[in-house]
Amino acid sequence: MATNKTWLIIQREYISRVRKKTFILSTILTPLLFAGVIAAVVFITVRNVRNEKVAVVDPRGVFKSSLESGEMVTYEFRDDIDTSNFSARGYSALLFPPQVGTNRSEGYQVITEKSLSRFANERIRKDISRALENNMISQQLKVDPKKIDSIRRSAEQTRIEPVKKADLGKGISNNFDLASGVGYVTAFLIYITLFIYGVMVMRGVMEEKTNRIAEVMVSSVKPFQLMLGKILGIGAVGLTQFLMWIILMAIFTGIVSAFIPADVLSQVSSARDQIPGSTGETSEALQNLAQARANLSTVNWPLVIGCFLFYFLGGYLFYASLFAAVGSAVNEDAQDAQSMTFPITIPIILAIIIMVNSINDPGSSLATWSSIIPFFSPIVMMSRIPFGVPDTVPYWQLGTSMLLLVAGFLFTTWLSAKIYRTGILLYGKKPSWKQMLRWIRQ
């Protein structure tokens, strides 16, 4: 009978939220918005790369043969231009090489009306440095710089193929960038959802308290059932949303790849190996896509998704009950709620900081230990798992982390239930921490 009532509460919490327009909209729009933002960022960055025209006043001809214009900066050698008229003539900068000496590394003046972008400045510095290098190569080594260039280009093609011992002979190479990307995205997703759904639980509890429905409810069910029903119901809402996102994402990628003919893809991917450093933007984009598709298959997706769901649920249960306790302790005052959620949000934020560290060095002791402690494990462990189980994350670590997280949420649920039971019926002043401790001891 008791579980039956909890089930009724779960149903109500779930249905009342899933039916809301905001839920339906956010479920459908979030992936679209996400894709839109990425596209917009890429578009704006690409569009924002201006071509700067730089007038070079080089009476001694030091750069004449060696300073090459590029995509971002175009150099024109003019003797009829000076500081008074360069901007009127359509140049964004004026470059003066040093008046004396050869191949000096300093004394290059770049005069501008308004400051150039960071990228343009950096580009100019590199171009000058390269021009100097070419000058020195041809003057001191008496070699054609073009030859050196081709040597360097072929040397730059060097790739290492990190293969883990366990994967030897399977043709699987270890892709650090991809693993860290997947780790970053999944860990961040957990971070965001912990907040969103945790706060949703807190608001739900506060609503029940301020609407005074709490007393009606606890005359029918135990406060613990009420709290648990709410937490599980909202957790189910979260899972539903994830599921919808995964399905929508699959549909989107399906649509996108349908626009790229398969033979183009295979052409490009075979072409990549033959012509190193191929030119042309379109083919480069396609190449990246092909590369990405090849790489994606190296990740153990069932493991990553399985662990993601586990750590989402575990982390959610761990923190949601704490949020519920806070919701029960405060009244409608949003400020009180904020000040009391502060201690809960600190470990979550700390976890995100550790996660960034862990992405760069998933085997470090900081990453290892904090991926076992339940306060941080949902986020930090999720950032390590894509690097490989059981090599980067041994089974014992994963097992301990999972067990501790389960124990952790059982503990926080028990703890919160004690605060919740008293808090939900108490109106008036916000209780002090000391009072809440007394409720726990009761």
């Binding site: 009724l8 709490a214 019926l425």
Partner: protein, 311 residues
């Protein structure tokens, strides 16, 4: 066997002896009034009977067995003083949800809801939300959700507060009807005229202690001051007599007399008859519960003071 028997209930909070050693018995099928000024401990007492609070000390017997909230909540309908409903939920769904939480099956609950909604003319509300209802309307809904699962014990905390006279009467009639059908009703209030009208038995609590317990009739008898009103056609000449004294004379030739100990109303009548005074009426003046209430809790500060509990 009484339905509910509470003995020596105590509940202390950090700053209040909210309920301090209260015992009472509620008979099956009766309407039981729990009276007391604001902050006397009524709500705390009710919360213990409904299983929301555990008493610090004392025992509650429900149907002769120790009260077990898990088992017994379904036999109780509780309407708290602070009304509460889910504002965004549709009214029909809300009634169904609350009924199911009280252990009713979906089909049975639907049937009962429709029956109640028809009787209280709430049928058109089904798809409205609670936030669309006026205060009185949501009170009515709250009452229906409280009694829907046919509880043996109905506990109403200030059921009439905020209701207009028409709706007050509707609810009052429903309370009578439910009691008539065998339900036991406990309600707390501080409006005495309703108590006199409705309750069979009352207790009065003040500052966490019970100060009065009995049927309305008993209590009135207990607090009577032996006052009688005598109506005359024409005011008689002499009124003085050792058996009684005249408390006041009224403009319609009637007088209120107080009979001294050792004498009876007959002595008064005999005296006037002997005087040939034309008596048109004679009746006892019993104190109203309101007067008793005020005289008993007089001296209590209007707001209850905080105490320090040291134990």
């Amino acid at each position: 066997m009484s339905l509910l028997q509470a003995s020596n209930l105590k509940k202390y909070f950090a700053t209040q002896r909210a309920v301090d050693d209260i015992s009472f018995t509620v008979e099956r099928g009766s309407i039981f009034g729990l009276l007391g000024p604001n902050g006397a401990g009524k709500t705390t007492l009710l919360r213990m009977i409904t299983g929301i609070f555990y008493p610090d000390e004392g025992e509650i017997l429900f149907n002769g067995k120790p009260f077990d909230p898990l088992r017994d909540v379904e036999a109780i309908g509780y309407m708290p003083e602070e009304r509460g409903l889910y504002k965004k939920m549709k009214i029909g769904e809300q009634a169904l949800y609350l009924a199911q939480l009280k252990g009713l099956g979906k089909k049975e609950a639907m049937q009962l809801i429709q029956e109640w909604f028809r009787r209280l003319e709430m049928e058109s509300w089904w798809n409205k939300k609670v936030e669309d209802l006026s205060k009185g309307m949501s009170q009515k809904l709250q009452f229906v959700t409280t009694v829907l699962h046919r509880p043996g014990l109905i506990i109403l905390d200030e059921p009439f507060s905020g209701l207009d006279p028409v709706n007050s009467n509707i609810i009052k009639d429903e309370i009578f009807r439910l009691a008539h059908e065998g339900a036991t009703v406990i309600f707390s209030t501080h409006r005495m005229e309703q108590v006199e009208e409705i309750c069979d038995h009352i207790i009065l609590v003040d500052k966490g202690k019970k100060i009065l317990d009995g049927s309305v009739k008993q209590i009135k008898q207990q607090f009577k001051e032996h006052l009688f009103q005598v109506g005359f056609e024409k005011a008689p000449g002499t009124l003085a007599h050792p058996a009684f004294e005249v408390v006041r004379r009224q403009s319609d030739h009637s007088a209120v007399v107080k009979i001294h100990d050792g004498f009876s109303p007959n002595d008064v009548l005999r005296f006037y008859l002997d005087q040939d005074a034309a008596i048109v009426s004679f009746h006892e003046i019993l104190p109203s519960l309101n007067e008793i209430f005020i005289s008993l809790v007089e001296g209590t500060p209007a707001a209850r003071q905080f105490q320090t509990i040291t134990d």
